[in-house]
């Protein structure tokens, strides 16, 4: 501790800069983690956080809710399957909506509207405020948009028909396609369509929400439904969110970024300590020559690595806690505790492993070099 600490105190700038660099990298990693999760949540949160355990698309809709249309005979086929206890029809469309809470002449916004036949098969799963809609004048909005004129009590107007809806509840993390999202009853959805186009008939469902029969797991129900017809594409709700088009690509891109950062942190600390180990080789050689056990010098090195990593992690997480809130470009950001824990562990282990290269150099020092004055280990 003596050596490690004294050296760091005498080279505050050098170690301070390293801690700052590690802290910045840690912050960037965590921030991007929040960005990824926020992005995916605003993409597909409504799928993951709707109430049906299993969703059934039509195969040719390629897992895009709006592109899938389920005919009545397919609906009936699914409903007859013994693994299915109940079927709820789900519709989804994009509407132009004016949030009147922002003023009568507020800018209209493109809004995802999800209509559910049964609240527990396609309705919002987690309400952070209010209640589910009970009539054709009400809607639940995604909580991320509350401030944008979609708070409980706010009224929104569907364009061009002029049908008005009152927000009666907020659903957690329930956006679809990075747009404000409304959950309404099936009848409300039909009324909204009719207000836009009086000639439109009753809409066909875009997907079916399934409640598996008692004793049947979601996975079993998925398999049973998929076996009914090649036209049916059943998924658990998590799979529906994960396998929506684009999600895998987003994850892949971020994975590359994380991989790079995950390497950069140990690389930076490893190189730093390797360089200073080289630089102070004469001093280390002297210490070995006057009887310092090599293990003591390695311990001193590891203490410094631990202090640098610890300091960097604290600084990075602190910065992240301060800045990972609010939203950028419509994507809500949030402090991700799991990500913090995972990255703290990963980077600590990686940093310590990278320090082993320096430790090897320390162990290789030959005290005899002190007698020649060459001092530097080969």
């Amino acid at each position: 501790m003596f050596l490690a600490w004294k050296e760091m105190r005498r080279a505050k700038a050098r170690f301070g800069l390293l801690i700052a660099a590690v802290g910045l990298l840690v912050f960037l990693i965590l921030f991007q983690q929040s960005l990824q999760n926020g992005l995916l949540t605003s993409f597909t949160g409504a799928l993951r956080n709707q109430s049906a355990e299993v969703l059934v698309y039509r195969t040719d809709g390629r897992r895009i809710l709006q592109a899938s249309v389920i005919s009545p005979d397919l609906t009936e086929m699914v409903g007859r399957d013994p693994s299915v206890a109940a079927v709820g029809r789900i519709t989804q469309g994009t509407f132009t909506v004016t949030p009147l809470a922002l003023g009568a002449d507020a800018e209209p916004v493109e809004t995802s509207v999800i209509g559910f036949e049964l609240p527990d098969l396609g309705g919002p799963r987690f309400l952070t405020a209010g209640r589910v809609p009970e009539n054709t004048e009400e809607a639940v909005a995604s909580d991320a948009d509350a401030a944008g004129g979609f708070a409980v009590g706010d009224v929104v107007r569907i364009e061009p028909g002029g049908k008005q809806l009152t927000i009666v509840g907020l659903a957690r993390d329930a956006q679809l396609n990075v747009a404000p999202t409304l959950f309404v009853t099936y009848d409300t959805y039909r009324a909204a369509l009719a207000s836009r186009n009086p000639d439109a008939g009753a809409p066909l469902p875009n997907a079916l929400g399934i409640r598996p029969a008692p004793g049947v797991t979601a996975g079993q129900a998925v398999a049973a439904i998929n076996a009914l017809s090649p036209e049916l594409d059943a998924l658990t709700r998590d799979d529906a969110a994960e396998q929506a088009p684009g999600v895998a690509q987003v994850r892949q891109s971020f994975r590359v970024i994380f991989l790079l950062y995950g390497f950069v942190v140990p690389l930076v600390t490893g190189l730093f300590f390797l360089i200073i180990t080289f630089q102070k080789a004469p001093a280390l050689t002297l210490l070995r020559a006057i009887g310092a056990p090599a293990s003591r010098l390695v311990a001193s090195l590891l203490i410094q690595v631990a202090i640098v990593l610890g300091g960097g992690l604290v600084a990075g997480v602190g910065l992240y806690a301060a800045l990972a809130r609010g939203r950028i470009g419509g994507v809500p950001l949030r402090f991700e505790t799991t990500a913090v824990i995972v990255w703290v562990v990963l980077l600590s282990v990686g940093g310590l492993i990278s320090a082993l290269f320096s430790a090897r150099r320390v162990l290789a020092i030959d005290p005899y070099s002190a007698t020649t004055g060459a001092g530097v280990g080969r």
Partner: protein, 243 residues
């Protein structure tokens, strides 16, 4: 500490005699051979030397004659290829690296030719580090360090880093460092080579006073005949042999 260094009961702790009892160094037929590609270098050729407990010996000889090699073996920095080496009553001839590390830490003091101080430690800390690496006695070590710095005329430089000290002051700190562990034998490898003549003489006087007042044995390697007058006797070396 014993266990960690691989020194058990038959190590030097029990056999180490009290200071001033028996020779500080006995070398018998100590030999150091460096095998080279198609020949070998005999750096030390069956050297015999005895340094009494309070004796100060000048080691003189041309460059490459094996002076540093002899000191390194005597101080447990190098292992001899063959021969017997006894330091402060402890036979270190067959000691392994960990045991030799302990010999250096507890039995011997070193003042090297060039790098002698840790640059990021103050003068006082360069003395205290000896205690930190070893027994960690704390307060007694701090008292000892302050006393040594006082004796060496460095009391007002205790908080200076080596870079803020003159060559002579640095060498005096190194002497203090070598005495911190209360050694049986101190090895000085050309302690004045980096100093001008006048300063060199002053440092030699200091070394002599410190050794004699403590009754510690010393070997002083030198090229300079004027240095030998500070020592009790001179030993000459040539081609790895003690003459």
């Amino acid at each position: 500490m014993n266990e960690q260094d691989g020194l058990t009961g038959d190590g030097f702790t029990e056999h180490a005699p009290a200071q001033g009892w028996g020779p500080a160094l006995i070398m018998e037929k100590a030999r150091k051979v460096y095998p080279m590609a198609d020949s070998e270098v005999v750096a030390l050729d069956d050297a015999d030397i005895v340094v009494e407990a309070d004796e100060m010996v000048a080691l003189v000889g041309p460059s490459g004659s094996g002076k540093t090699t002899l000191c390194s073996i005597a101080g447990g920095i190098l292992s001899p290829t063959s021969g017997r080496v006894v330091v402060g009553g402890v036979d270190i001839s067959t000691f392994g690296p960990k045991q030799l590390t302990r010999v250096r830490r507890e039995l011997v003091g070193f003042v090297f030719q060039s790098v002698n101080l840790v640059p990021f430690l103050t003068a006082r800390e360069n003395l205290l580090v000896v205690d930190e690496l070893g027994r960690r006695t704390g307060a007694p070590a701090r008292r000892r360090a302050d006393q040594l710095l006082e004796e060496l005329g460095l009391a007002d430089r205790a908080k200076n880093l080596p870079g803020q000290l003159s060559g002579g002051q640095r060498q005096r700190v190194a002497i203090g460092r070598a005495l911190m562990n209360d050694p049986e034998l101190v090895l000085f490898d050309e302690p004045t080579s980096a100093l001008d003549t006048k300063l060199g003489m002053a440092v030699m006087e200091l070394i002599r006073d410190e050794m004699k007042s403590r009754g510690i044995a010393a070997i002083v390697v030198t090229h300079d005949e004027r240095i030998t007058q500070f020592c009790d006797r001179s030993v000459h070396m040539e081609d790895g042999r003690v003459l």
